[in-house]
Symmetry: D3
Subunit: 285 residues, 6 copies
């Protein structure tokens, strides 16, 4: 069950409001790299967690923190929209600066939200929950979480570079730090469970006779004019200790696919049917 | 540039067509764990790859392989739809088996595609490209790819368990194997680049003064009634060698947010405004 | 800032797990009538609230409660999926009951989530945040919230009627009660602000000279063969006390629209252009 | 059945075309606050209307009017796009005004529609029909409609403030007026059916033994550091006359959720299983 | 401007209601082959029509007809849902027929709409307006319309084959007929404008020096192991009379793409940068 | 099965990078008129092709080519983003040119992709696979393909007009040429199968007794105040040779729809029910 405190997790100051930066910040709220995504992803993973209870606890604890991140970023968006222009001059030449701001803002910050944050990304696209990855497999979920936090920290670093506002830089430096920790903690779970060798291949519970092992450690080169790129993945032991990497040229092992003719009454054209219904006679005129 | 061979990468046999399994298989084509996603993800990562060229080559080589996976899975869906019922009895009691199949199938396999594969998941939802994660950061991208392959292998393992069809089991065992390799190869890139310690935190190019380091290795416990779950992430050195893990109770460090009154002419109710426009006089009747 | 307690807001018991009911329950989590929607809607409204602070407090308090509703419903879904069939018989006739269940379930409950809740509706469609209505106008927002709770209570009532499971009925009776309260509280805000007469028309801050008042209280009958349906809206004083209702037949007051010819080089066909580029001469053969 | 007249419902004049305002106007066509939404919402509510026929008639009459609103707004968009720039200078400095317009326009107004209206919002996002709320419950539907018209009138008021064009102001003043009427008429249905006391809680047909009435009129305070915000909703009779409002601190009444171990062959990691399949022996090298 | 008559365009009778067929019929309302799509597509094409006015008139006339098709199909869905089961038995074995129907229905027909039509397809996916194709080019639009009607007639034919209900067959035979006419009328526009030779290539207004004509009539064979499939497109005059068809093997004409190193401060990993920021020293412990 | 060559199909040169044009070009990658769409559409049509094998071969050959178009356009986007501004000045007046570029760019080109192509359109909306039209009917599919290529060529022509960059003009002239060929080849299939008369109405396999032929060639005029627009579609023989075109005023042929009262326990309001549950007594106070 959730509770709320009236203060923000971190202080939000905006020295110079900037409606274009408000649009950019939306990516950190409603983008695939954003806070709604991680809050909901950890929440749903927690609800589906099976096995040792502490991972469930860890997930819900951090889900709760991410909700607080949405909250302070939402406040940051609203503060950046303070004083934004809300009307336009018909002749853009009159005030190109104002018109450039209006053209660059998310118009729905004016039209739909009344100058406050929305659950959308920097293109104004609402977040959709298909990005909540929660598989029931703790290995897959931890990788998904580390991925989300890596994307999130890349985004925060780019936002940090984009602004000169001291308050915003301070807030983003906190976000960068928390993304560091969250990357760490999800990968630490894998380390605690024996590290990558023990975890891989995910799921590590698949019986080996369900797997065509001859194909499990071969880098297939589909290039027609280049050798396979050599690296850790082309020779030497596999990361899971079960095999040796090798390289092979990609080659068809299957048949040429064919579905044959269309059955009658299938909605196809008669020309696709072996025994089509008799063609109607053209009407005499 | 791409080329095509007329044969499939792997042989597809369906001993007993099953239209419900056709619906399930769609998850491996058009689901977030599916082949369209990885094909396009590796393709767009390759197009945006900067730095050592061999990673680009690796990405495009495997993107190309994934296109071939779409192709053989698409054929598997069509073969599972052979002979599927395409009409219903008005009285479901007449033939409950046929009606249960019709109710369980994806109706668009009949209505929209003429008994062949579609770029949709097992709920019939079309794949959308927001799931193509390509950040321009090779660390984030490699984690995203390992995540995708982990989800894909979990899915393939579940599909394997779901069917008794020998041909389908054979095909899925190949898919399980290739997902093993692909998990390996993306994580091998990270190993080649120095391993997790060197790669973390992603992006590892963020200057430390952009990061509020005091918050970078602290597990925040937002629980009101449980201690922080202890583990690799609560004490000891961080995975990136830059710090020591610790635990702290989560506490607000910021202000109580307030946006004040709504400006006049902002589309708010007058009651939200400090100095609202004068209230109209109610019409006398 | 948010915090969490390890116990659910309400006890969840499932006497007889039913994977089909798990699918149905998803509507209450990820449907437009569901808990993710209201949690996020109240949260974003709170973040954008201007004017008296107590409405912000009220919004965030209830947003927090709705997060707890997601949590117990998520647990209810998982408990309903306990023991669900995860493999199929190729010949549906062999066990029509199992096959009907498999056909009726959300396949992603098996394939994607490992038998736990997902942020999707009963069709498996992920919730998308475009349904978070937060306008910055407290009147519009309160109506939107009452609407959401009305839809939610309709849904809960239908789910209640659909199941015979005592634990589920108990949980749903709690949800019905909370939806009652939430309907009440949002409409009570409007009452507190003077009631509908004072609140309407929303926004009540629009100056009357921005409104073509002659058209403000006229029911337009667009029917060609029926009189306007008579009722409270066709005569008598308007609900906002500003006018009198009347009825009028709908009639065009505007011009016939015309855009004229297409400009050259606009990508139109030449036939749409007044002075098309000279037609190429067909190639001699 | 529908019919059409060749003239618009209201005259559309654009004194000074403004392609940026064309983008803004799209919100009134294809936004959630827009005309496609209300046209389709009233249409589908009419098709599902049960009970007194006059509400069906009223719904379809106004649905028909809203189609005409799409039409005149579509014309307004096209007229605002007359003469819009369709090519760019490579060096933005050459003509910053033209480049700011091109950057601020919806690019698809040039690229996809040939300078005419599209069924998209001001971010260019196509309207999707998930926003058509039609529950089969007249109370819920009337609230949903009043909500839609409130959002619509807020939007129209903001668009009015945004432009200086006399023709556009005139058109928007008509839209503001019609939104006034439509707000009125939907709420008048509730008044005609006995007012809020009779209508609430929606659905008012739920037997009281389906509802855990002890929880129906209690404002739950989830805040850890603030008292419940006091108002009409914290004491006094409930709006439906069935109870008395009160306040209580939110508290968990349920269990700590637990799903136990993952079953074998469920696609989880072995570490999540009580009796995992025997771990494979690492390959000797 | 639109008007409405209280009667349906065509009579709707359902002899034996079938909730599964109701789900199927939704494809004809809210599917990409359905009536919402064509109604809106012709409507938006009409609003953007430039050039001869009669095409605009034709578009709006048929758009209006399609609205009436939505209406009678919506009624057909509701009638097929009459008497549908709305509760389930916990033990599916108790009544497999009822449970198969409940599993096969669109659950939202019960939960969300109260047994009436929704603007969704047969998977329950809401229609989205991205499928409204209106380019401003009459040739492209007419092809798009013929395509939509072809898909629509294929769908109607499949629905006809799926049901035994006489009323439904009668309704579908009318739909099949109207789709015939609509296919005809859009292609007749192309014929009236000179036929395919004059219309192609669309847009026919592109100056020939904007086109690399050497590549305009060559079938590129990308197959590695099959000859190009021979047909009307591999030799002989092109359909537009401007060239001769030929065949060529596909070959790269471009460079190997390369983006070089990532710039500093771009959010990439240091390993992707030519001159990365100096690596931090690992913390001493 | 697919293979890859390391060189692009066509050379990509960008003389003057332009991040706004990069945004525009995205329409040709991820728009409905773009290359992902046609690549996937031809691919899925090929996988579902029944009847003569050469059409399958043709489809897969061109699908493969379209993948190469994605590739060179993706490179063109990245090259246009070289040197794009990635930080903003708080005071827009300081450098209006830079700020207008930042406001006009797709912000995710900076924030999400690290200055490279994304699978999105010019509004930043990810492509979704619902636009892959593959019906199993070769006539419908060929029309759909010609439509896609017509939209694509319209788009390419508009992009050509929009830029002054010689490299981009050269690339687009190649795209215009290939779109010409692809329009030709899909329509050539119809010609090869007997031309439009033989192909229409699609599907041409529908028995005539499934069609209400009296309605098949009548243009219905739904206009209340204009005569039917006269043309090829109002008189003379139909394009399929089966009938004669005529004109008729649209008239209702059906009943006034009615669904009667709502059943008890259906979640409706009591006022919608013939015999509602007894109304609760208001609580005494």
């Amino acid at each position: 069950m959730f509770f709320h405190s009236s203060k923000l997790q971190y202080e939000v100051k905006v020295d110079t409001p900037n409606p274009l930066f408000a649009k950019m910040l939306q990516q950190a709220i409603g983008g695939v790299e954003g806070e709604i995504r991680v809050a909901m992803q950890y929440f749903f993973q927690a609800m589906g967690a099976r096995g040792p209870a502490k991972y469930r606890d860890m997930l819900i604890a951090t889900a709760t923190e991410e909700l607080s991140h949405i909250e302070f970023l939402g406040h940051a968006v609203a503060l950046n929209l303070e004083g934004a222009p809300t009307s336009m001059q018909d002749d853009a030449a009159k005030d190109p600066v104002v018109n450039a701001i209006l053209g660059g803002m998310n118009p729905r910050h004016i039209l739909s939200s009344g100058l406050s944050a929305m659950p959308v990304n920097s293109n104004g696209i609402p977040f959709d929950m298909s990005h909540v990855y929660a598989t029931g497999n703790i290995g897959a979920d931890m990788l998904a979480n580390a991925t989300a936090e890596a994307g999130g920290r890349v985004l925060a670093a780019r936002l940090y570079n984009m602004t000169d506002d001291p308050g915003m830089k301070d807030l983003l430096s906190f976000l960068i730090a928390r993304d560091t920790m969250h990357q760490q903690q999800w990968l630490a779970v894998i380390e605690e469970l024996g590290g990558l060798e023990a975890a891989l291949p995910i799921p590590n519970s698949v019986p080996e006779d369900h797997e065509a092992m001859a194909h499990s450690y071969v880098f297939l080169n589909t290039s027609l004019d280049k050798d396979a790129p050599e690296g850790r993945w082309t020779s030497g032991p596999s990361l899971d200790g079960r095999g040796e990497f090798s390289v092979a040229p990609a080659e068809p092992m299957g048949q040429a696919p064919s579905l044959g003719d269309a059955p009658p009454d299938s909605g196809a054209q008669t020309e696709q049917m072996a025994a089509p219904p008799k063609r109607r006679a053209p009407k005499k005129k």
